[in-house]
Amino acid sequence: MSLRTRTGLFLASGSVLAGLLGWAFAGLPAFGHYHGVYGRALDRVSLGQTHAMSTIASVTFDYRGFDTLGEEFILFASVLGVSLLLREMRERDVDAKRLTERFEPIRATGRIGVPVLFLLGLFVIAHGYLSPGGGFQGGVVVAAAIVLLAIAVDYRAYSGLAPKSAADLVEGVGAGGYVAIGLGGLVAGATFLESFVSRGTIGELASSGTIALLSWSAGIEVAGATVVLASEFFEELLARRR
């Protein structure tokens, strides 16, 4: 296909798409004018029912806790798939020397960044039901801190701190913990994933019942999964090929 035909085709289809998009956007409600019934209802009742300051956390880990379970296992299964594929395809020994030479200012920045990011990640997980954040976001931040250690500071320090067997275990514990907390509801005589611990006082760190526990287990799972994923990619790069 010549350049002229392609440009013509793009201009024709692009203008149709732009027109349809413009039409669709024109029909949207104005910013701040939300019309959904479900959101309004939750906004009204969620604080009293779940004692979680962040309504979003009460949706993800309470009202829609079962959906989040599914999301967790999507991540779990995809990391499992990557591991199965990549581990099968390479030899064991990793040549760590390939990643050790680094520019000193980058190492210095990394040394400061790793602990700060790690702490920030824990904070985001711990306060997910009080302020924006939660297990998923905080988990990736924690994992980013650990991965930063490998990229910016020292790969051997990284593989010593987060060996893959440990990351595998952490990921499994996080994923299994979510199910276990859900089953805890059944044991306590409620339904699956229903909160069976005290809801506590609104606004305190010890509040919101199982939302806090589920947020932590999601954080642990996501942090483990991200580290496993990064490790697989690192080893893929560093391993000697057959």
Partner: protein, 81 residues
């Protein structure tokens, strides 16, 4: 729409264009990171801090990591041939 929101929207539009225009793939990965950051700002000024946090972690931690490692791996494989 307040001016801050208009600026954030314009930044996102520019950033998206910049990603497409960048030719070198490493540079494209970097520009993509900045595009992700502009999305974070957009979510923040439109009062969606939770989405902004998710966008930070995905666009400035996860995506660049996977992209750079994939680029490195492909280059290494091509260098061997």
């Amino acid at each position: 729409m307040i001016p801050l929101q208009a600026v954030a929207l314009a930044l996102v539009a520019l950033g998206g264009l910049a990603v497409v225009v960048a030719r070198d793939i490493v540079r494209q990965a970097l520009v993509n990171g900045f595009f992700g950051l502009s999305l974070v700002v957009l979510f923040l000024v439109f009062q969606a801090p939770d989405v902004a946090l998710s966008a930070i972690t995905v666009s400035s931690a996860a995506a660049p990591l996977v992209l750079t490692i994939a680029i490195l791996a492909v280059r290494r494989r091509e260098g061997r041939r």
